[in-house]
């Protein structure tokens, strides 16, 4: 034989002399080593991770980088076909880097699972890392990983168990949570602190995902607080906090741990320096903050529990070193707790003083926190916060948007009857220079505050005019109608004053070309001048003082012709919206009976006639109809275009549009009749001008609510006794498509002036929607303390969608349940009446929202839910922005 027989030599040599013999090798490991050796020879060694990173970093252009990545991805894909590659973990690591750069890497998901199933620790470590980064909530993959996790949760190696717990904590879906809860519960009871703390946080996440699973963790949880290990303590406190927030029963159950928590906290602040947990001279601030927060939850509305923690809170508040961020962190949390529990008054004074110091701190972060906390405490002790008013107003001028936002909200919370004049001056100045994103919120808050605390009617009107001028198009639509309502019910000289003030603004905007930016202003001005134009041009109103707050009188009385010239400029502008032009056109018609000279009459007629051929059907219709009032029906004109009677404010049952406001005093619409109209409009999403003929009961609907104002204006100018000659032109004016006849006229008036007493019945449009609906999309958007709100979305005809919010409560009866919603400006939102305001366990409140989105911008919906649990008001807010992309196609 040509080759020496090494095998024979092996067997004869005694083990201690044979360096290649290792008794620890069993058949399996030998096989593995052999396989790996073969593998290394058969497959060329793949690029090393750091070499790939170098290559990618060396790429000079995006295209070059893409080509490197694509080449590597192609290679990695090809290796995935190999059954048992030792290089798998390296390839996945490279893929994870590529994924971080933003390239797709989902094809590595299954490979991660193979790595997790491997017995090698390196493989597992990289596999779990990949799982956490690459896995989405897809069912099939999740089933596979649940099995892997189950195996590893039973491993003998603590680090393997740790990896599995870490992954479960990061990506647990409700199904995984249910399947693995019992394993986690077992591990909480493990004697090993490393596993115990991780299992406790896993339980925290499981309860977050599936609140029903809480019960099973209760027994194991309490003992966590008896541990010495800070990791176990902090995770235990986190878990208990979550449980307490989850259900009031659990909250009561844990009331008895208050003394334990107080003792732990006391030990922390009294114990000497411990290098392991020290942060700049403070002993374990992380644990302290968590305990303070749990104490706050346990002491809320509970005199006995609060009493037990008064002393320790005082100690923390006075003994904490405040030169560093970490000390202020603890003070901040302490102040929140003092303000939330039923604490002693001396303690509250201490807390407010701490906030006062915070507000003057040089560190921006501390100032931010102070503003934030003051906002939360302003309801508890307003006068204490009022003392800092000047500082807070100063923060409105801060260059930092975060500070400004906080200062704005706090400023509005501080407005009252005494300081309204001064505060509004500052806030109006803020409104003028503020960022676009603040304008909507700020202007509606100004409107609300003015309404609530206005010292005089004149001041109220002046403030509204300033808001109209400064907020421009960011103003909420309902401000237009509420301002009009206020003017209509004011005294005559106020109305003249309003017309004169608004004329100045209108004229300036028209001349400077800024009218497009200020359409709500133009609308209100047009309405007012149309109604009271005679007072505007008459010398009789010279007695009214036009001197403003700064002592300037810049009012110049216009001639009738000049007013009409400005109207013409605006009406012929291509930039103004249709509804603004509708306001202007009607206003101009009204002016024909307010102005006296023949020349102005003639001018008005000419302008109105030009609209007889307007490209927009609605305006054309009005042009033609109004022209008739100068010809055939000229004798009806003065009676039809009489001045509006005073409108009455009404608090609408539903809010429609834009920014939310919590105040319940703002009248959304000016007239009860308009509500009836709005309901009709809401019910006729798919209604276009052409469809009206088939639905005579819905006459007088138009596509936008502002124009319905005008229709009402016209109709209410009529004598309401049903006299046929008056009713006929009313139909002509109010309805575009119904043939002018006496019968529908009576119907029309019924429908308009008898608002439906019951909530809107299902709309005829619903049937169409159901047919057009694609797959229904549904998500739980809020889940807290057993209260759950789900939103489902369904496609509807014509760039619209129907959203249904369903609220359920597991344990409690909720009262005063209020659902509010807001959408971006380009989208229109109509809210139907909710099915109720009281939610009992097993009951359900539904709220239907109709969304019209002509521009098909991505839908974002901010919802706010408020209700009372046992007399405690709760407010939740969230934003949904993961609606299906094809919702409006």
């Amino acid at each position: 034989m040509a080759y020496p027989m090494y095998e024979v030599d092996w067997s004869v040599l005694p083990p201690e002399q044979n360096r290649r013999f290792n008794p620890a090798f069993n058949i399996a490991t030998i096989k593995q080593v052999v396989n790996e050796a073969i593998e290394r020879v058969r497959m060329p060694t793949p690029t090393r991770l750091r070499d790939l990173i170098r290559q990618i970093r060396a790429a000079r252009t995006a295209a070059e980088e893409r080509s490197v990545v694509n080449k590597e991805c192609a290679y990695i894909r090809s290796t995935f076909r190999e059954e048992d590659s030792v290089w798998r973990c390296r390839n996945i690591a490279k893929l994870l880097y590529i994924h971080m750069l933003g390239y797709p890497a989902h094809f590595g998901q299954l490979e991660c699972l193979k790595l997790i199933a491997s017995p090698r620790f390196t493989d597992k470590r990289v596999g779990y890392l990949g799982a956490m980064l690459l896995l989405d909530e897809r069912q099939d993959v999740h089933l596979l990983i649940t099995n892997c996790l189950k195996n590893d949760l039973n491993s003998n190696t603590q680090f393997v168990v740790g990896l599995a717990l870490c992954t479960l904590g990061a990506i647990a879906s409700p199904e995984m949570a249910r399947d693995l809860a019992s394993e986690v519960e077992r591990l909480i009871k493990s004697p090993n602190a490393y596993i115990k703390k991780k299992a406790a946080l896993c339980a925290f996440r499981i309860i977050r995902r599936v609140p029903d699973l809480m019960e099973m963790f209760l027994p194991a949880t309490r003992s966590l607080l008896t541990e010495k290990n800070h990791g176990v303590l902090i995770t235990g406190v986190t878990l208990i906090t979550e449980m307490c927030e989850n259900s009031p029963d659990t909250l009561n159950h844990f009331k008895k741990i208050v003394p334990n928590l107080v003792r732990i906290l006391k030990n922390l602040i009294l114990a000497g320096y411990s290098p392991e947990h020290d942060v700049s001279g403070v002993s374990d601030p992380f644990l302290q903050v968590k305990i303070l927060r749990l104490l706050r939850i346990l002491g809320k509305n509970d005199a006995e529990a609060s009493e037990a923690m008064n002393d320790i809170l005082a100690q923390v508040a006075t003994n904490t070193e405040t030169s560093k961020n970490v000390g202020n962190t603890i003070l901040y949390e302490t102040v929140l707790s003092i303000m939330d529990i039923k604490s002693e008054s001396s303690l509250r004074v201490l807390a407010v003083n701490i906030l006062g110091r915070f507000l003057l701190n040089n560190d921006k972060n501390i100032r931010y926190v102070a503003l934030n906390t003051l906002l939360r405490t302003v309801h508890v002790d307003t006068s204490a916060v009022q003392r800092h008013r000047t500082t807070i107003l100063e923060c409105l001028k801060d260059p930092d948007i975060s500070i400004r936002r906080r200062a704005m909200e706090l400023s509005f919370a501080l407005v009252n009857g005494q300081n309204i004049r001064g505060m509004m001056k500052e806030l109006l100045a803020f409104l003028e220079r503020s960022d676009a994103e603040f304008k909507a919120h700020c202007s509606s808050a100004v409107v609300l505050a003015a309404e609530r605390y206005a010292p005089s009617d004149k001041w109220h009107l002046d403030t509204l005019f300033k808001v109209l001028l400064k907020a421009g198009n960011y103003l909420r639509d309902d401000t237009v109608s509420s301002t009009i309502q206020i003017i209509s019910s004011a005294a005559t000289e106020r109305q003249a004053y309003g017309a004169m003030r608004l004329w100045t603004s209108l004229e300036q905007s028209a001349v400077s070309g800024l009218a497009t930016e200020k359409q709500p202003l133009i609308q209100v001005a047009a309405w007012t001048i149309g109604e009271y134009g005679d007072l505007l041009v008459s010398e009789a109103s010279s007695a009214i003082s036009m001197v403003d707050e700064d002592g300037v009188d810049d009012f110049v009385r216009p001639t009738e012709e000049y007013v009409i010239d400005i109207y013409q400029k605006l009406l012929w502008s291509t930039q103004l919206s249709i509804s603004t032009k509708e306001f202007l056109l009607l206003s101009l018609a009204k002016l024909s009976t307010r102005f006296t000279t023949q020349a102005s009459q003639e001018k008005i007629r000419v302008i109105i006639d030009t609209f007889g051929s307007h490209i927009h059907i609605e305006l054309q219709q009005r042009g033609v109809e109004l022209s008739q009032l100068f010809r055939q029906y000229g004798h009806l004109r003065p009676a039809l275009l009489e001045r509006m009677p005073a409108m009455e404010p009404v608090a609408a049952p539903h809010r429609d549009e834009q920014e939310l406001d919590l105040s319940d005093t703002s009248p959304d619409h000016t007239k009860p009749d308009q509500d009836a109209l709005l309901d009709l409009i809401n019910g006729s999403d798919s209604l276009t001008n052409g469809d009206v003929e088939h639905q005579p009961e819905q006459i007088a609907t138009t596509n936008n609510n502002t124009s319905s104002n005008d229709i009402l204006d016209l109709l209410s100018g009529l004598d309401l006794t049903p006299s046929v000659p008056a009713a006929a032109p009313a139909v002509l004016l109010a309805n575009n498509n119904v043939e002018p006849s006496a019968a529908p006229a009576a119907l029309l008036l019924d429908g308009l002036f008898a608002p439906p007493a019951t909530p809107q019945p299902p709309h005829p449009a619903d049937a169409n929607e159901r047919n057009a609906a694609g797959a229904e999309w549904e998500r739980a958007v809020l889940e807290r303390g057993g209260v759950r709100v789900c939103v489902s979305a369904r496609r509807a005809a014509g760039a619209a969608a129907t959203l249904t919010a369903r609220a359920t409560s597991q344990l409690h009866t909720l009262t005063d349940f209020l659902f509010q919603a807001a959408v971006p400006k380009k989208i229109q939102l109509d809210m139907m009446s909710p099915s109720g305001t009281t939610l009992s366990p097993q009951g359900e409140i539904t709220q239907v929202l109709k969304v019209t989105n002509p521009t098909k911008t991505p839908l974002r919906l901010r919802i706010r839910v408020s209700y009372n649990i046992d007399g405690t008001p709760v407010l939740e807010q969230t934003e949904i922005n993961n609606f299906p992309a094809d919702l409006f196609n």
């Binding site: 470590r125 990289v126 980064l133 989405d136 990061a170 962190t329 972060n365």
Partner: protein
């Protein structure tokens, strides 16, 4: 609870992303892109907090890297800054005066360290020593069995 953590460079390159809430990949990318732009646009003198969508973003810049955490409304912002600082200290101890390149080339280690500090969006260990001990022990377990397979 922390919803996610991002590390990115001054040039806006993502260096680490850790998500504790389930979002589709597309949404994650969108959030990341928008948030990076927003944070980078802020001036150095501004405060470290940003109310952004329904989360509260707490960020801090260390040398060329931004550490950025999205927290829930009721979380303590100042404590989040301490948490970020703790993570930076751990990276520094582990790599020995850490720099951006360490995190680029050893991104998996940066993840491993974060996973020993935070679990499911909540802090799991307040002792630096314990975190580093756990990492060292696992590194040892890894080197013993298969050196070189990963790197």
């Amino acid at each position: 609870m922390m919803q996610f953590m991002l590390l990115f460079s001054r040039q806006g390159k993502l260096r680490l992303q850790k998500w504790y809430v389930a979002h589709p990949d597309k949404l994650k990318k969108k959030i990341t892109r928008e948030l990076i732009t927003t944070v980078l646009a802020r001036k150095p003198k501004m405060c470290s907090f940003l109310e952004w969508k329904d989360v509260k973003v707490v960020y801090k810049r260390y040398a060329s890297l931004y550490f950025c955490c999205a927290m829930e409304q009721e979380d303590n912002e100042l404590l989040t800054l301490e948490l970020i600082h703790r993570y930076v200290e751990l990276l520094d101890k582990y790599f020995g005066s850490v720099c951006e390149l360490d995190i680029i080339f050893n991104f998996e280690k940066a993840y491993f360290i974060l996973d020993e500090l935070v679990l499911g969006g909540e802090l799991q260990e307040t002792s630096k020593k314990n975190v580093l001990k756990a990492i060292a022990a696992q590194d040892l377990l890894q080197e013993d069995l298969n050196d070189g397979l990963l790197h």
